[in-house]
């Protein structure tokens, strides 16, 4: 099916009515929406500002779930080693993780798509050079590449996004190249190139829209991957600075207390992370099934 397919109903409607058919995907989408809202409105929902160190009391540190702290409210998920309310920390951490994942995914999408489409459109030497580079990089595990880059670049948000983009753009490039070069081989593009239409017009009106469905699927999965990768790097101590803990950092901070039975410091942020990643993946999987022409009815 085509993204811009004509018909009695708009393509978006058709898409939505097919998306609704799968209960699990619908629930996953709902969960993703809830998490987005929670992350955006965290400053108003969270009972405490976890970044404000002056508001924390060490007397509240490492308390189990259900403890009523010096703030006078219940810490439903317990507190961490600094006396932070874990529920608040998780709400803010979801925001930090999502932000990194979405920004890295978006930049990777733009850079990768550009490389893939340029390679497909130009063909010849340019194609060989660009795609050889992409293939080479794809043979290198993303986690190792990101790890190495973080070691070289040092800690920080910009460095982290750079490392994630460098580790992931190749997946977008491969997808964009595959879709665009299949389209490039069709007669109508050949015909369009014979007319005085500008290159930009052919690329943006024909090649790019046809590569879009596949790219959207990859983007969904890559956002989830970026979030998981960020958590892994933060866990290894190579991610964000400690002042703005993402979910991975929260998990990492709790590990040393796990052995003494204070499981909640690591486990609850971890559960939040898993719910986030699995829901995004389920939504992405289902979009892929809908857009896959081989499974179309």
């Amino acid at each position: 099916m085509s993204w811009r397919g004509s018909g009695a109903r708009s393509p978006l409607r058709t898409f939505w009515s097919r998306f609704r058919e799968d209960r699990i995907a619908l629930v996953a989408l709902f969960v993703v929406m809830i998490i987005l809202l929670l992350a955006i409105f965290a400053p108003w929902i969270a009972p405490q500002d976890p970044y404000d160190l002056s508001g924390l009391s060490l007397r509240d540190a490492r308390r189990p779930p259900g403890f009523v702290g010096s703030g006078g409210y219940v810490h439903w998920l317990g507190t961490d080693a600094q006396g932070r309310d874990l529920w608040s920390a998780i709400l803010y951490g979801l925001g930090a993780s999502l932000q990194i994942g979405v920004i890295a995914g978006a930049i990777g999408l733009v850079i990768g798509t550009m490389i893939g489409i340029v390679a497909a459109y130009a063909g010849g030497r340019v194609e060989t050079l660009l795609m050889r580079l992409v293939d080479l990089q794809l043979s290198f595990p993303a986690v190792l590449l990101a790890l190495v880059l973080m070691a070289l670049l040092g800690q920080g948000k910009a460095q982290l996004i750079t490392a994630l983009v460098a580790a992931q753009y190749a997946y977008f490039a491969r997808t964009a190249f595959g879709a665009a070069s299949a389209e490039r081989a069709k007669d109508y593009i050949e015909a369009a190139m014979a007319t005085p239409l500008s290159n930009a017009r052919i690329v943006f009106r024909h090649l790019l829209p046809n590569a879009m469905p596949a790219l959207i699927v990859v983007a969904t999965v890559q956002i989830a991957n970026a979030i998981a990768l960020e958590a892994t790097l933060s866990f290894l101590g190579l991610g964000l600075p400690v002042t703005e803990p993402s979910l991975g950092m929260l998990i990492s901070n709790g590990v040393k207390y796990m052995m003494s039975g204070r499981y909640w410091i690591s486990v609850y942020p971890g559960i939040a992370l898993i719910i986030l990643i699995v829901s995004i993946n389920l939504v992405g999987d289902h979009i892929r099934d809908i857009l896959n022409p081989r499974l179309a009815r």
């Binding site: 060989t128 795609m131 050889r132 080479l136 043979s139 290198f140 595990p141 986690v143 190792l144 790890l147 190495v148 070691a151 070289l152 670049l153 040092g154 989830a224 998981a228 958590a231 892994t232 866990f235 290894l236 101590g237 190579l238 998990i251 590990v255 796990m258 052995m259 039975g261 499981y263 690591s266 486990v267 971890g270 992370l273 898993i274 990643i277 699995v278 993946n281």
Partner: protein, 324 residues
């Protein structure tokens, strides 16, 4: 054909040269290791001698060429922290990593393929659904998180298995191996399970998809018509037919699993190469970082080169210069 191999070989050499420059420059751009090496109360004289001993007073370009010259002679420098030749240090840690990775992927293969075949043979049974759910979890849940849950469950709560180290080892050829003792196996169990999960998920999917396809072919129909039992069909025919993609992916997985061992080794304090590199990043131990990165890049370039050449041998179309 020899032209093709020569071309790929040249490409590999160029890539290695570029990698060595990037790695060297990148690693030397971060932090000053001298602050760690020289105690603050050291005299100016000691300070200068130390800097000289590590060759850090020379210009960066000269340091690089010295590094390449030593590299070609098989000398990758000495670790700042352990004060040992880097190659010896990595060599002493390598067996632990190899042991862990091998256990993990062999385990994933031996368990994943039969379960995948079953899931493909009876796609609608509840057991198959459970197997597939497990494989989806294996794909989406981050390795480090699974590791933590394994520790929490089996080491902290149940107390069945140790959470760190290698346990008792037996020396063979001057190298200690954990898999030769019962205690070593108990230490190996959790990290290997952790590392295996992703490969396991991959094997299940491949075997399931392959089995579903093969079950519909004439091979199976005729075998059934000939009265061959389902068991023999699955073990003799299906297994043979699905093994080609599995073997291909298995080779590629080996490299990825080595990379993920970094995470697993850190969680379980497994004294392998992965833990060494994380420690050296945190300690700014430059020679170890540079050596690890160069060796890893070299390993990947070599694997790619071999894969390219093998594919070219199998597919004559690829030999004609153009890769596609």
């Amino acid at each position: 054909m020899s032209g093709f191999i020569l071309q790929r070989l040249l490409q590999a050499i160029v890539i290695m040269a570029v990698m060595s420059v990037i790695v060297f420059a990148g690693v030397y751009a971060i932090g000053n290791p001298m602050e760690l090496l020289i105690p603050p109360e050291a005299t100016q004289d000691v300070r200068e001698r130390t800097i000289q001993r590590f060759g850090l007073d020379k210009p960066l370009v000269e340091q690089y060429f010295l590094f390449v010259k030593n590299l070609l002679q098989g000398d990758l420098g000495r670790s700042y922290i352990y004060n040992e030749p880097v190659l010896k240090l990595i060599g002493s840690r390598l067996p632990a990593t190899i042991e862990l990775v091998t256990t993990a992927i062999v385990g994933a293969l031996l368990l994943g393929v039969p379960l995948g075949i079953y899931a493909g043979y009876r796609p609608d049974s509840p057991v198959s659904r459970a197997i597939m759910s497990l494989s989806i979890l294996g794909f989406s849940v981050p390795t480090f998180w699974v590791g933590l849950i394994l520790i929490l469950t089996f080491a902290v709560e149940l107390g069945w298995l140790p959470a760190s180290g290698r346990g008792d080892t037996v020396e063979v050829f001057g190298v200690g191996w954990s898999f030769l003792t019962l205690n070593g196996w108990s230490h190996l169990a959790l990290p290997a399970t952790n590392l295996a999960l992703f490969t396991f998920a991959m094997m299940v999917r491949l075997a399931r998809a392959g089995t579903r396809e093969v079950m519909l072919t004439d091979t199976v129909k005729f075998a059934r018509a000939a009265g061959i039992s389902e068991r023999v069909i699955l073990t003799r025919h299906v297994l043979k037919l699905i093994s080609i993609p599995i073997v291909t992916v298995f080779g590629l997985e080996l490299a990825t699993t080595m990379a993920f061992a970094v995470v697993t080794e850190t969680i379980f304090a497994w004294p392998g190469v992965g833990k060494l590199i994380i420690d050296s990043i945190n300690n700014l131990d430059r020679p170890v970082m540079v050596a690890y990165l160069i060796l890893t890049a070299g390993a990947f370039v070599t694997i790619n080169l071999v894969v390219d050449i093998v594919y070219a041998l199998l597919d004559p179309r690829l030999r004609k210069g153009h890769a596609r």
